[in-house]
Symmetry: C2
Subunit: 187 residues, 2 copies
DNA sequence: GTCTATAGGAAGATAGAC
DNA sequence: GTCTATCTTCCTATAGAC
């Protein structure tokens, strides 16, 4: 087996960058290949199913990222709820580069692509919500109240990213993240 | 002048439906034409600039809609703030079909398309925020507090639409709209 | 103003050499 | 495992008849 020119992780990072920025329809295989320095045909060697399989691989990668850096940290019983929240807020900041980058779950939620990736998008969002629900419970909220807050967190992140993009300023995202911290800490 | 087969309003409604569902890159001219029963070449007759001009026309149409059904109603001094809010909540429900339909401002906010329509998206979002800021002021909030609430409204709508789409349920959108009403009425 | 037909190019996908 | 070259299909856009 000849060693790959580009490692899996670097490859997936590049592919994700294109998909989150341009969406499924907007991402061409040339761009996807170019993002990691490979040629189109080499991408097909790694992902025989073409663009759909590439996108599924990226979604799986994202799902693992959320499990590791959102869900597991939010449910880590060896830390206080406040410490966990602080950690995860940092992860979120780096994931979206302080509001500069889009969310791939949003980028793939056009009618034409959500159809192809419904289950994967749903699972990632659900994992995110489950993590924050657990955090809310550990903060002392009832399960219902904690879940409601968890939805508000996901909605605030997604919404503020769109508004930031639309207005050309990261301020809405930054303010939304601060509001999330306040929402838990003020109680 | 031969009368048009499809009136401007019906044409724009069809074009908007495609663009909001599939985004800029995802909408082909065949689909755009088909949405109103015209042929591709007829679309070029009405919009010589092609897809870009079509999208600009739809964005202008959307901007006028927001001015008329969001901004003007929110600033209509002949009604009480509560009446205005109720009216506009209804408009929002119908615009997004209770959470089933996407927002075209979101659909066009991929990196590849926001580049082309930056100003138009920004103006529409700003008009929306200005309307809700005025409402908040008339509810008795300071200008700063009113503007913060206005941002929260736009963020909650955009975010809940994405989460609704991702989870395959309109519940998040419906809950978000109810929370918006509560946010103003509870004070 | 609308249509059919088509040019010209970019897209997704494959073949086969190295 | 990666590459160049190529196939086919779809796309944007235009020409010209009605």
């Amino acid at each position: 087996m000849r060693p790959p020119k580009v490692e899996d992780q670097a490859l997936l990072d590049g592919l994700m960058a294109v998909l989150r920025a341009k969406g499924y329809e907007g991402s061409s295989l040339n761009e996807l290949a170019g993002s990691s320095g490979l040629q189109k045909a080499s991408l097909y060697h790694r992902f025989p199913g073409g663009k759909k399989e590439i996108t599924l691989a990226v979604l799986h990668y994202v799902h693992e990222w959320i499990r590791k850096y959102i869900y597991e940290r939010l449910t880590d019983q060896s830390l206080s709820p406040a410490e966990r929240l602080g950690d995860v807020i940092q992860s979120i900041h780096s994931l979206y580069q302080g509001g500069e980058k889009s969310c791939i779950l949003k980028a793939l939620s056009m009618d034409s692509s959500v159809e192809l990736f419904r289950e994967e998008i749903k699972e990632s969002m659900q994992r995110w919500i489950d993590g924050f629900t657990a955090l809310g419970v550990d903060y002392g909220f009832t399960r219902d109240a904690a879940q409601e807050k968890a939805f508000q967190v996901l909605i605030a992140i997604q919404g503020s990213l769109i508004v930031s993009k639309g207005l050309g300023s990261t301020a809405p995202f930054v303010a939304a993240v601060e509001a999330i911290e306040k929402m838990y800490r003020e109680v």
